[in-house]
């Protein structure tokens, strides 16, 4: 078997997450591809949570469907998870705590592992139960137990020998327990791979591009970015947890005005609070990067579940018109590059860049073979060095971009106003409002700012167009952001169907190179796939290109989009085309 899914399930407080991480690490370290996904709840103790690790010799694009090995830490886990078992799958449980009578006739491999007993013999920390189970999993999948010892030594080495030994002994006891039998051999290629979630990748990318300021108010699923920057601030990033998201974005604007590459992050609720200041950055032409990691809405919505419901909101948020860039990374690796690119684009075009993540990409972890760091270049855009006479911060230029200056530089002082202004930054809204000359200036200024969209479309060749794969296919999925990975999996699953499917995936959603996008989409059989109810990408496409994508696969229940469900629905649509 070359593609297995392991799920560990229990209650909040059972250490499910750290165990999931350990399981992933075991397989990562022998050189296998790993995809980790967790389901959690907005409570800290109790309830029901699970963490799932899918393992394969091939690259993975989804969390896996059926469970091959279930570790059930309590009765709930048996009752709630058994429906998801793969045929002939294994259930590891502790017979002293749980009853599996209901599973008896299903052809499952029931492994009664005395986790509690073993723990009591090895120091008694109840979280070691999970480690016993990990030992058992390693035996079942043919992984040398030494792999676990190495991980524990590097992870807990500093915490002392006793902790290390208790862990190793617990794992060994699970490995050697007579109830546990080897059922498969999972062989890795021995290559070293990275493993991280999207928030981490995004943060590293931003750091790599020289981001020196990050402000946020905690909100799932964006908090991981705050935690990453807080843990890494000594690398030279000012990190500010603020009183609210309004403060977060305004501080970001302040720091960016001072000359630091700056970013803030939140989820939809916090983004709602940031909206007024988003327009401020547009008007002042201060480059900022804002992350919205979406979760299920509206309102508090589904705090621990995913959605792509903010696309139209972030694309149009704030009063008036100003250039903005909206980008939605399609996988974890791309999140790192986007984290870097966003800062270049913001500074080159002096406008806000919104990175649209979602809980799914922010919080699931994947193995990644390599990162090509050479591609990360820093371009800080036009910066003024001198001025003849009073500095024209908002000089009217043909490309719409006016060189900026940073406080501290002599001779280039200016006041940046949120009111409409002339080239110097003088208001045209007070004594001058309504006077012909200043009406003209308003027109010129507005056009100057909006012209930056044409400039970016011209300069950033191929950036603001979707990517096409399988160009000769008969049907094309149209999608954006994280859903792209699920669609890729669907395309793989569909290959035996005899019908050929391709993908048109959007990374940049605003602005769009309308002509090129239209050319790519027109004349094709299109199926829109996105994680929301109203098909917001299809709406955006229609508004830009007049192309109506009426075939749609939409999901909005918060759970991961699997390749299988997309594939099944696609075949259904195709059969009636």
């Amino acid at each position: 078997m070359n593609d297995i899914t392991i799920r560990i399930a229990g209650a909040n407080g059972d250490g499910i997450d750290s165990s999931g991480d350990l399981i992933a690490k075991v397989f990562l370290n022998v050189g296998l591809n790993v995809f980790a996904y967790r389901s959690y709840q907005s409570i800290i103790r109790g309830g029901h949570v699970w963490h799932q690790v899918r393992i394969s010799q091939n690259e993975l694009h989804g969390p896996g469907e059926k469970i091959n090995i279930l570790v059930a830490l309590n009765q709930d886990s048996i009752d709630l998870q058994s429906a998801h078992m793969a045929e002939g799958g294994s259930v590891i449980y502790d017979g002293s705590k749980s009853n599996v009578d209901a599973l008896k006739d299903r052809g499952l491999n029931l492994v009664n592992l005395p986790m509690l007993d073993i723990v009591l013999k090895n120091g008694g920390d109840p979280l070691l139960k999970n480690v016993v189970a990990i030992g058992a999993i390693m035996k079942m999948t043919g992984i040398d137990i030494g792999v676990f010892s190495d991980i524990i030594k590097s992870k807990f080495g500093k915490k002392g020998e006793m902790i290390v030994n208790n862990n190793i002994n617990s794992a060994k006891a699970g490995y050697d327990d007579p109830a546990v039998k080897n059922i498969m051999e999972l062989k890795g290629d021995g290559k070293k791979r990275y493993m991280m979630d999207g928030n981490t990748a995004l943060s590293i990318g931003a750091f790599a591009s020289g981001c020196r300021f990050y402000a946020a108010y905690p909100m799932t699923p964006a908090s991981g970015i705050l935690h990453w920057f807080a843990a890494h601030q000594k690398l030279g990033v000012v990190v500010k947890q603020t009183e609210d998201e309004i403060a977060a974005i305004n501080m970001t604007i302040g720091a960016a005005s001072a000359g630091a590459r700056s970013m803030c992050g939140t989820s939809g609720g916090g983004f709602s609070l940031m909206v007024e200041a988003l327009g401020l950055s547009g008007m002042l032409e201060v480059p900022i990067v804002v992350v919205d990691s979406q979760r299920g809405g509206p309102s508090t919505g589904l705090p621990t579940k995913t959605e792509q419901g903010d696309l139209l909101f972030v694309s149009h948020a704030s009063q008036g018109e100003f250039p903005r860039i909206v980008v939605s990374p399609r996988n974890i690796k791309e999140s790192l590059y986007v984290g870097a690119e966003a800062h270049n684009l913001a500074e080159k075009y002096q406008c806000p860049v919104i990175i649209l993540m979602d809980l799914y990409i922010s919080e699931h972890a994947e193995s990644i073979n390599t990162f090509e760091l050479e591609g990360i270049k820093v371009d800080r855009g036009k910066i003024a060095t001198k001025s003849d006479g009073r500095f024209k911060r908002y000089e009217i230029t043909t490309d719409g971009i006016s060189p900026r200056s940073f406080p501290g530089t002599p001779g280039l002082e200016f006041i940046a106003p949120s009111d409409e202004h002339d080239e110097y930054g003088n208001l045209v809204t007070d004594f001058n409002a309504g006077i012909d000359k200043y009406v003209g200036i308003r027109r010129q200024m507005h056009e100057k700012r909006m012209r930056k969209i044409d400039t970016m479309l011209k300069e950033e060749k191929g950036v603001f167009v979707p990517d096409v794969s399988n160009a000769d296919a008969e049907y094309f999925f149209v999608t954006f952001g994280s859903t792209t990975e699920s669609v890729m999996e669907a395309v793989e699953l569909l290959s035996p169907s005899g019908k050929k499917f391709g993908i048109i995936s959007f990374k940049y959603l605003m602005p769009l190179d309308v002509e090129k996008t239209k050319a790519l989409l027109s004349g094709k059989k299109l199926i829109d796939v996105e994680y929301n109810f109203t098909a917001q990408l299809a709406y955006l496409i229609k508004a830009n290109t007049c192309i109506d994508i009426s075939h749609r696969i939409l999901k909005y229940d918060g759970e991961a989009f699997t390749g299988r469900e997309i594939a099944d629905k696609a075949l259904e649509l195709v059969s009636k085309w």
Binding site: G210, R212, V238, A256, E413, I415
Partner: protein, 288 residues
């Protein structure tokens, strides 16, 4: 050194007689005496008649959005603590829509000078009640009189952790200028709340009304290091509407946010070059 270098020369937008003229003059005078290079000054304002003071400066500045000048100023300072950052705005801006930021900026003790032109009214929006309007005041939005207790910015600032709390009067620019100058040189969050009459929309708290009530703390040997006394003086007008003290209520020394932050203490982050590929690779290694 003259204060002319800090002036843009732009014509102010204020009504004749507006208190904000005096505030502008006092800030310019303070800057002139301190002689800080104008390229090292960042003036951040909000929205309101008072916030239009930004137009008077030839320094760096941001004329931001309503109520958000403190977070903007904080961001500037966190990125480049070498700058002299001055926030200036109205009572509505700072104590109404921006009240949360006011409290948090005070408790952070960042080295900012925050100047509030407190006219006890919303001037720019043509005369509605403000958070400092007194009970009973009739305004366009409260034709039957204000029914909410006014905010006391001074006692609020002291309890929130501000380390320099003063009140001035725009009718006394020399005294005011002294308070502002000391606020700028003070290391920490300095609030200067200024009684700055709106001659157009506030017919209650006029120059005359104020002159009848004000007196200077300096003349009474007030000890600004005594927090209990500071509260007593800061709340005097609340208890006895006939007396309004001016001057420095409270001053103390606490570590600056900038000195405690593990990154800022090593110098401004602006101007640092991006990390090398080797540095990024070292970070990536954590995830292998």
């Amino acid at each position: 050194m003259t204060d002319a270098q800090y002036r843009s020369g732009e014509k102010p937008v204020w009504c004749p007689g507006c208190g904000d003229y005096g505030v502008s003059a006092a800030i310019m005078k303070a800057l002139g005496e301190l002689n800080i290079p104008k390229n090292d000054i960042m003036v951040v304002t909000g929205i309101g008649c008072s916030s239009a003071i930004s137009g008077q400066f030839s320094t760096y500045g941001i004329h931001g959005i309503h109520g958000r000048l403190l977070p903007i100023a904080t961001g500037v300072k966190l990125a480049n603590p070498k700058l002299t950052v001055i926030g200036a705005g109205g009572d509505g801006d700072g104590y109404g829509i921006g009240a949360a930021h006011f409290i948090h900026a005070a408790r952070r003790n960042i080295d900012l000078t925050y100047i509030v032109m407190d006219n006890e009214i919303y001037g720019l929006t043509t005369g509605q009640a403000s958070p400092t309007s007194l009970i009973g005041m009739k305004t366009k939005s409260t034709p039957f009189g204000v029914t909410e207790n006014p905010i006391n910015p001074l006692s609020l600032a002291i309890s929130a952790g501000a380390t320099y709390v003063a009140r001035g009067f725009s009718g006394d620019p020399n005294h005011l200028s002294m308070l502002i100058k000391n606020g700028i040189t003070h290391k920490g969050f300095a609030l200067i709340d200024i009684m700055s009459p709106c001659v157009t929309f506030n017919h209650d708290n006029t120059y005359d009304w104020l002159r009848k009530r004000i007196y200077k703390l300096e003349d009474q040997q007030h000890d600004p290091s005594d927090m209990a006394k500071a509260f007593e003086k800061a709340t005097e007008f609340d208890r006895d509407g006939s007396k309004m003290p001016l001057g420095l209520f409270y001053k103390t020394s606490k570590p600056l946010y900038e000195e405690l932050d593990p990154v800022i203490m090593e110098g401004p982050v602006v101007g640092r070059s991006p990390p090398t590929t080797a540095e990024v690779e070292a970070v990536l290694k954590e995830y292998m």
